[in-house]
Amino acid sequence: MTVTPDVDNKAVLLSLENVTLSFGGVKAISDISFNILEGEIRAIIGPNGAGKTSMLNVINGFYHPQKGTITWRGKRRRRMKPYRAAASGIARTFQNVALFKGMTTLDNIMAGRSLKMKRGLFWQMLHVGPAREEEIANRRHVEEIIDFLEIAHIRKQPVGRLPYGLQKRVELGRAMAMQPELLLLDEPMAGMNLEEKEDMSRFILDLNSEFGTTIALIEHDMGVVMDLADRVVVLDYGQKIADGTPAEVQSSQEVIDAYLGVGH
């Protein structure tokens, strides 16, 4: 353990203990432990191939670690499917935008609500009574997200035609639609220009402070990480090399070596 995080009386939302994930002989993650506290913005950083995305995939149940335990809300989690993770309150966005390109912004975000829809397909198709009420309530929620992310002008546009920065925003919207307790963002600002990055940072901060959503994000832009994150965990070659506040992490020699390389 490098740094003991300042727990601040916040409840632990998710904790990983001694997690190891390997693909055949390749160890993607070896013996990593860290936790995510309720209401914080947690960054996972590290050089290419450090195992960051694998980490997210473990958290949302897409990969199953060979060793170690994952505890969600104080309960030890068993082997699970991603949709169960989703149902339990974990949502994510992807490094490469993964939207339904032919569908509109509105429909994409509505799709994110499907877990919250109680009525079955039959009732939804009939579009009467409770199914109708449910759709109206869900639509309202989606409109609030559209308002929050300032994407009203592209509400009815197919997302495939939108510029990349906006697609990223729509994807965040879809993840928000689930009202997740934990939101995993895989490089939310990759490929954005400065202004788009500033907008996205603002959305992430507001999302965290307004809705109290806990956020775990992978990001390469150190400036962004330092501004956004409450705590940072640094991975390198599948190992955890630092864990702490942005300032602590930034001054760690190991982190500097990992990013800048060491003379051999």
């Binding site: 409109e143 009203a152 002008h153 400065l194 202004e195 500033e198």
Partner: protein, 653 residues
């Protein structure tokens, strides 16, 4: 003439009786148009006003209003005015320093803001604003952690009003009485002019200025309580203030607030306003997007579009002006209306427009005619903040693209010996706030106002504006150099967004061109032209080639007109960055600040008057959050061959 009431809040109360159930305001929120009728609006305003008074607002206080077109911000005006305090709308996209100037100069005690962005801006400069006591805001998002003593929600202010009304039954009557006692000659708003030169000046307008002007304007175009309009222009601009606030109150018509600035076009289509007001830039932008979309359309559609636009060009305006047109052309036009103009107008949200105005700047004649030929009753008006907008306007059917119409009702007009246009009207402002010197410079003791524009009245009694009096210059060979005239000709091309012309005291005319990113990016995409940035696109050889063709085209036009034949464009460059109000290059109403551009790009201008083919330039830019950075670029300079001028034209000039 109708007897006027004594104040704008008094009109609100009248409307709440006379048009109680009619829609006064709409706002699209969460994807749904919400409506308030006049009696609901009066109620909202009353609670707001009584609550505001409880916060300490009193007679003579100045209240800044910062934000875009939201119902609650529009309600802030009468709420403040009924406390005998004075609203001071501020351009919402101003950077903090600009805002500081206005708030400090006005001595604002309170500010009404739309959202966190504006509140943050004000909080960042609050040390320099000792008069500012509290900020009231509309949208609660992100506002949880602010000091509730200094930063209060409008809904909270209204609750406060409610509590007082609950406790004290008489307060409502007292409030209505106070509104009835407001004096018509008292100042009721300060509008800061964006100022193409120097610091903004605070134009003080009285209730009488605004009410009388609104009564006249409504009568001129037969506007009544059945009109629908959409409010999307800056609150601080006199055009929006008169059009969306005072004229609406006086006539009782409804005002619709779009969802956001990005959705105006879609929202306008949903509302289909009957009365519409926009600066030329909006019409230019719409035309560009039409042209771009048509390029993308299928062959048949494209052919139909171009065919029927030609038809419209030929007979559209004459039909609109109710002139005699032969039956065949009429039929052909009707067909065009069916296939092209109707759907197009619907797309633009202009299918129900009875009267549309363009003002603020000269509009390119070709752009103007384009809209008219579609059957949209677009007219020009000439106005100023100092006149409560209206100086001249074109009466229906008497439209000429080159004039700005006849004097508006009760406006007297005269032309000085040096060509400057002067006017006197009931709308003439009280003076500049805390600036008697400037007032004395602009307004004569007997109420005439200098416009600063050069113009003349033609034989039909219509005013023609040549240019800003001080902008018209002379070339070294003695030829006239009217910058605006040249710029407008170039701006008609959809891929050109802005132009700045130089030539005063020079041997020839040269121009800076700003490409229109929407149009050029679309063209690049269709032609597989790869670019990484605005800068790279602007400097692309093919873009230069297109611009050169445009310049040649304009030169041909200029060569055929005696007065301006020597003002042909010899050299040009495509700027590496967009001219931007944040950098001070444009005013907040998006007019070019010539003097500033001259100084900032002096190197580039000098290079245009040398043999150089490129010039390095390093420019400081301001980002949206107020941070600064630099853009470095090597800008290419191009030379164009001039068109020959016919001998008889030379003689004539």
């Amino acid at each position: 003439m109708t007897e006027s009431l004594g104040s704008l809040p008094a009109y609100l109360l009248r409307n709440s009786h006379e048009f109680a159930d009619r829609v006064a305001m709409r706002h699209k929120d969460l994807g749904i148009w919400r409506e308030w009728n006049w009696s609901e609006v009066a109620d909202e305003v009353r609670r707001f006003s009584i609550g505001f008074a409880a916060l300490g607002l009193k007679r003579g206080d100045k209240v800044a209003i910062v934000g875009s077109n939201r119902p609650k911000l529009y309600w802030a005006f009468p709420a403040i005015q009924s406390c005998e305090a004075i609203p001071v709308p501020v351009y919402a996209d101003s950077v903090a320093e600009e805002m500081q100037f206005v708030l400090e100069h006005a001595g604002a005690r309170f500010a009404v803001c739309q959202d966190q962005e504006q509140v943050d801006k004000l909080l960042s400069i609050q040390d320099r604003l000792p008069d500012l006591e509290a900020i009231v805001y509309d949208e609660p998002r992100g506002m949880r952690e602010y000091d509730p003593e200094k930063v209060v929600a409008i809904t909270r202010v209204q609750e406060l009003g409610d509590e007082i009304i609950q406790r004290d039954k008489d307060v409502v009557q007292r409030w209505s009485d106070a509104v009835g006692e407001l004096k018509i000659d008292d100042m009721c708003v300060i509008l800061y002019t964006s100022g193409t030169t120097g610091r903004p000046k605070g134009v003080m307008l009285s209730s009488r200025n605004l009410i009388q002007t609104s009564i006249n304007a409504n009568a001129f175009d037969n506007l009544d309580h059945t009109e629908e309009t959409i409010a999307y222009l800056p609150l601080a601009w006199v055009g929006d203030h008169v059009f969306s606030y005072t004229q609406s109150l006086v006539a009782g018509y409804s005002v619709c607030c779009p969802e956001s600035l990005d959705t105006v076009t879609v929202n306008r289509r949903e509302i289909a306003p009957t009365y519409f007001f926009a600066p030329p830039r909006v019409f230019e932008g719409l035309l560009t997007s039409i042209m771009v979309n048509m390029e993308d359309a299928g062959r048949v559609k494209r052919w139909m579009f171009h065919h029927f636009i030609k038809v419209a060009n030929k007979s559209g305006e004459r039909i609109l002006n109710k002139e005699s047109v032969n039956p065949f052309s009429r039929l052909h036009y009707k067909l065009g209306d069916w296939f092209v103009y109707g759907p197009l107008k619907n797309r633009l949200g202009m299918s129900k427009v009875r009267v549309a105005y363009t003002a603020g700047e000269a509009i390119g004649p070709d752009i103007f005619r384009f809209y008219r030929s579609l059957g949209i009753n677009l007219k020009q008006l000439y106005g100023q903040t100092e006149a409560s907008v209206y100086i001249t306007a074109q009466p229906d059917g008497q439209i000429d693209a080159d004039t700005v119409g006849t004097p508006s009702p009760e406006v007297e007009l005269r032309i000085e010996d040096n060509g400057e246009v002067m006017y006197r009207s009931p709308g003439v402002f009280m003076g500049y706030y805390k600036n008697d010197l400037a007032t004395a410079d602009t307004k004569t003791p007997d109420g005439w106002v200098h416009t600063g524009d050069a113009g003349f009245v033609d034989d039909a009694g219509h005013l023609r504006i040549i240019d800003r009096a001080k902008d018209v210059g002379k070339l070294n060979d003695g030829g006239m150099f009217p910058p605006k005239y040249i710029e407008n000709k170039l701006k008609f091309f959809p891929n050109i967004k802005e132009v700045v012309a130089f030539g005063d005291g020079r041997d020839y005319v040269s121009v800076f061109i700003n490409i229109d990113l929407t149009a050029v990016a679309n063209w690049a995409e269709r032609n597989n032209i790869v670019y990484a940035s605005y800068q790279e696109l602007a400097g692309h050889p093919e873009v230069y080639q297109q611009m050169e063709e445009h310049v040649r085209h304009v030169n041909k036009d200029l060569a055929s007109e005696a007065r301006v034949a020597s003002a042909q464009i010899k050299r040009f460059l495509v700027l590496h960055k967009e001219l931007d109000a944040d950098d001070g290059e444009l005013t907040r109403t998006l007019k070019v600040r010539r003097k500033f551009v001259n100084e900032r790009y002096a190197e580039l201008i000098e290079a245009l008057y040398s043999d150089k083919t490129e010039q390095f330039v390093s420019t400081e830019v301001v980002f949206e959050d107020g941070k600064t950075g630099r853009i470095d670029a090597t800008v290419k300079l191009a030379t164009v061959e001039l068109e020959p001028v016919r001998e008889e034209l030379k003689q004539a000039s």
